[in-house]
């Protein structure tokens, strides 16, 4: 048994979210530098250059990279031998979000119909997972909703096969066009049920760009999808080009004999993603 003080968790997660708002992950920056070379459209190259410049400026000046500092989505892996002390862990994570967003944009409405701003960017959306051991690992996505809005999920019958899955993913990116702020990171969930397929697609966005699925048939699917998406012509910011997606990450979930659910979660070219382990 290991005891972790929730006050320390609040402190660490608050700091992580604050930092992540102005500091984009190195794997993303590296992918953008490669994309700058691969892009054939002069306008597309300029857009990538501008986004890299913006990222460097935001980091240096500690200002958010994008005005949409997102909704905080937290993935918490808790070892089954962990005991939390000093308060409730869920409340501590909400407090951490409130702390971090004091100087960031408040983009959350508490009630989706009444649409009154919660005033402190809470609640964060939290996904819990109990794992073996005594570690606590928290990953964060500060998800911009321009790209979230263009994301889609559908419950398909198995007959659509892999071809139908590909079609749905490509069509989602095509419909999103410039709206989702390409170059995109495309998270794809396949299988599971209505609830888990979306979560799988979102978790796919946590993977570093450049990571490849360990399953050969999934790795092939990822490569084919990136290629097809980059043939759409959308390009950086939709201003034309051959770099529409930096990566496609596919995550599979076991499913029922009657279904082939698919979810496509798009991330924009300001992927605020971070992880800490305590």
């Amino acid at each position: 048994m290991r005891t972790i003080d929730v006050g320390e968790v609040r402190q660490a997660v608050g700091e992580l979210l604050r930092h992540s708002a102005h500091s984009l992950p190195e794997d993303y920056l590296e992918a953008m530098r490669t994309a700058r070379v691969q892009e054939r459209s002069p306008t597309g190259q300029e857009v990538i250059e501008l986004l890299l410049e913006n990222a460097a400026y935001a980091e240096a000046e500690t200002v958010p990279t994008c005005q949409d500092t997102g909704m905080a989505i937290l993935f918490v892996e808790v070892g089954q031998d962990v005991h939390f002390s000093g308060g409730e862990i869920d409340a501590a994570l909400q407090d951490a979000t409130r702390d971090a967003y004091a100087d960031l944009r408040k983009s959350v409405v508490s009630d989706p119909l009444l649409r009154v701003n919660s005033g402190d960017n809470t609640p964060a959306l939290i996904h819990w997972e109990i794992v073996a051991g005594d570690r606590l690992r928290i990953s964060t996505l500060q998800k911009g909703f321009g790209a979230e809005l263009m994301s889609r999920a559908q419950m398909f019958p198995p007959a659509i096969g892999e071809e139908g899955v590909q079609q749905f993913v490509i069509e989602t990116v095509e419909k999103a066009g410039p709206n989702a702020c390409p170059p995109l990171i495309v998270g794809v969930g396949i299988g599971g049920s209505l609830d888990t397929v979306g979560l799988a697609a979102k978790k796919a966005l946590l993977r570093p760009i450049g990571s490849v699925s360990p399953e050969p048939h999934v790795a092939r699917l990822e490569a084919e999808l990136v290629d097809a998406i980059n043939g759409l012509g959308i390009g950086p910011q939709g201003l034309g080009g051959v770099v529409t997606a930096l990566a496609v990450h596919v995550e599979l979930v076991a499913t029922h004999i009657a279904a082939l659910p698919v979810a496509v979660n798009l991330n924009c070219s300001a992927p605020r993603r971070a992880t800490l382990e305590m």
Binding site: N54, G146, L149, G233, G235, G240, G241
Partner: protein
């Protein structure tokens, strides 16, 4: 070097702009996004006076992040314009001449741009920290309870834009996508 256009826009400038053209904008523009649009259009329907002028004016779809102490404004890049489509026609009918955002517009809005002589400009989404440097002043005009969605008057200087939809029916997104879409042989056509 991009051409400078002055905001508010005059008719001759609007007519001269072509889809795909890069410009920089200097002058006064108005920040308004989702919740503000809903209120503005509801106020128009009730016949009320609006908190901002419309004729010849430019509306920027933006909800800035909070400003650092001493800064004019926080990061202020464009938000997705399509969400404002349902509110845009009444504004164009009353003379709004320029819209700034990112992403595609509905056919209805594109037709209205031609009908009313107005232009839709794109700013680079996600370049928000850099774009904020081109904003010289920001004044809260209305709806402070909407926080980042409040209506603001912004003075911009050389704010970089690209004409997406001009008043002649040109569409930069469609043209660009067509130019780089891979054909059957797996090659890319360049412009």
């Amino acid at each position: 070097m991009s051409r400078t256009v002055k905001a508010p826009l005059d008719e001759a400038t609007v007519k001269s702009l072509r889809a795909g053209e890069r410009v920089v904008m200097t002058g006064t523009i108005y920040a308004a996004r989702d919740a503000a649009h809903k209120r503005l259009v509801a106020a128009l329907q009730r016949g009320e006076e609006l908190p901002l002028p419309l004729s010849g004016q430019v509306i920027y779809y933006v909800g800035p992040a909070p400003a650092k102490p001493g800064a004019v404004i926080g990061p202020a890049g464009p938000t997705t314009s399509g969400r404002m489509d349902p509110y845009t026609l009444p504004l164009l009918e009353r003379g709004v001449a320029g819209l700034i955002g990112k992403g595609s517009r509905s056919e209805e809005v594109k037709e209205a741009l031609v009908r009313h002589g107005a232009v839709y400009f794109g700013a680079v989404g996600g370049a928000s920290a850099l774009l904020a440097r081109q904003i010289r002043s920001s004044r809260l005009l209305a709806y402070p309870d909407l926080l980042s969605e409040a209506v603001r008057e912004l003075e911009v200087e050389e704010f970089p834009l690209i004409v997406i939809n001009d008043c002649h029916g040109g569409d930069a997104y469609l043209a660009a996508r067509e130019a780089y879409r891979r054909d059957g042989e797996g090659t890319h056509r360049s412009r």
